[in-house]
Amino acid sequence: MTDRPPRPQTRPHIAPGLRDVARPVVIWTLHFILVYAALSAACAERAVASYPAAVIAVSIGTPVALVLAGWGLLRRGDQPMRIAARVTIIISLLAILFNTAPVLLLDGCR
Amino acid sequence: MQGKPVVPLTLAGVAALVLVAITLVSVWSLAHPQRDPVGNALAAMGARLDGVRSWYAQGPVEASPDWQAMRLNVPGGDAARGRLAMVEYGCGACHVIPGVASARGTVGPSLDGLARRAYIAGVLTNAPGDLTRWLMNPPLFSPETAMPNLGVTEADAADMAAYLYTLGPDA
């Protein structure tokens, strides 16, 4: 082993952390990709999946995404990061609901 | 600094004026060209200005008659109607005709300065009667011409001749 410089002491993460701000909207991204992929698989020329299969995928994925994105919504606190996390969660929940609009409002590809 | 309410009032006032002006302008721009009071008023004003301008251009009435202008007078021809007829018959596909925006054809000669030409298509003298007859049936006078018989009526031909004689008589 070689000589190492002194390791910097790890400092406490700022509560509640950047992760809580980014997580909900990352979940939104994954949910969006899921819906887009399911619809593309069912409705493009190749028709890898059937339309009901796409609806099932979205129906299972959406509640999961809502739970994962909404986790920590009720956590209290008024530090900026905590507020940011809460607002991000709410916007992401709404956006996930909007992602389901095509499946809710239409009954087929065309 | 300028924290007085009067300044934002001015700001909002000017912004509101801009909004109102844009709304008025939008409404006006929507009006049909033929049923548009503002446009018609502007056109009428323009016509009156043209009248004033030509009155000055012609000079005092006791001056001697302009024989050149009288030579090019087409009886019964209306230059303004002739200009529109040019568009109707598709003259612009082959000729450049000043004053007719779409007429930029290069198949035949430009009709700019037509009033100064000696002959029409090299076969007819450049006189009102000959020009009118030419427009009505070019192949009759020049069997090898590329200019087709456009089926022009006599009245339309007179109008078109009148317009063509406005092109460049005084240069």
Binding site: - | P8, A93, P148, N149
Partner: protein, 311 residues
């Protein structure tokens, strides 16, 4: 470049007056959204105005109310309304008669297909009044976009795809359409006319497409027909009963009956026809057709008269 001649086109290419079910439903949506947008704009500007006059911090509930709750209600309504409108006007009726429209640089090939027999026309689409018709949109070269604002919204013509839309014209008359996707040099000169006819006249039109083109019954028209046959025009253009099969250029069997020349750009008459044949590259730069400026004067006149006679 030569520009289009003045045509009496005022108001024939606008989405503000609707003559088709698609444009109709869209106009309702447009009006509703415009009014809502104006109201929301005034509300937000009112909030700015109030904020300017205020001198102490407001509540975060303004952010929740103005930034989240009200927008979500408005947007939810919008998504539902627009999706239902979309579902209604975007439905393709498989049973409706099909008209195939193929975009070319810079003209439109039209095929009516009432009973499986291709009836070809160009640059003028005749539609029956109040009967749904399915337009089948293709392209021969680059992307074009089919747009007749008074009838329906636009639909692209994409290489390798066939896009279909069903339209129902609800008003007889002439409407103008134009290519809406930039397609090259003469893109602005790629328009067309839509003619909506009552059923009887529409049937007469189809009958006209089935029959041969008008005969050349004078010496000059016969000369024009011979020029057409001998000068290579038939390599690209077809005239039913005279020279069939060529599809590189527009079908000319009833060119004289169309109101316009050069894909909706010039008035159809002998003068424009002659100028077009002699110098098409000046009138429509980049068109596939070469300028036929080597024809003798009488030949040019004859072929122009012949084409104008094809009604």
């Amino acid at each position: 470049m030569n520009g289009p001649s003045t045509l009496d086109t005022y108001g024939s290419q606008t989405s503000f007056s609707s003559a088709g079910t698609g444009a109709d439903a869209t106009l309702v949506l447009t009006t509703a959204m415009s009014v809502a947008a104006a109201v929301i704009f005034l509300l937000v500007m009112g909030a700015v105005w109030l904020a300017w006059r205020r001198d102490r911090p407001g509540s975060v509930w303004w952010i929740w109310g103005g930034g989240v709750i009200l927008p979500v209600i408005a947007l939810g309504t919008l998504v539902v309304a627009s999706t239902f409108t979309l579902a209604a006007i975007g439905r393709v009726d498989d049973g409706a008669p099909v008209i195939e429209v193929t975009g070319h640089q810079y003209w439109w090939d039209i095929v009516h297909d009432p009973e499986g027999r291709a009836l070809r026309d160009a640059n003028e689409i005749v539609l029956p009044l109040n009967i749904p018709v399915t337009l089948s949109l293709k392209t021969e070269d680059v992307i074009h976009s089919f747009w007749v604002p008074s009838i329906a919204g636009k639909m692209d013509m994409v290489p390798g795809r066939i896009n279909r839309m069903t339209v129902t014209a609800t008003e007889a008359g002439r409407f103008r359409g134009q290519c809406a996707e930039f397609c090259g040099l003469s893109h602005p000169l790629m328009a067309f006319e839509v003619v909506v006819l009552p059923q009887a006249e529409y049937d007469a039109y189809l009958e006209d497409l089935r029959s041969e083109a008008r005969d050349a019954d004078t010496a000059q028209l016969a000369r024009g027909r011979d020029v057409f046959l001998n000068e290579g025009c038939i390599a690209c253009h077809a005239i039913r009963g005279v020279a069939e099969g060529a599809r590189l250029g527009p079908d000319l069997s009833r060119i004289g009956a169309r109101a316009t020349l050069g894909a909706g750009m010039w008035r159809m008459n002998v003068g424009n026809l002659a100028g077009w044949i002699a110098d098409v590259q000046d009138m429509k730069p980049g068109a596939q057709m070469p300028s036929y400026n080597h024809l003798s004067g009488p030949d040019l006149r004859a072929v122009a008269h012949y084409l104008a006679s094809l009604k």
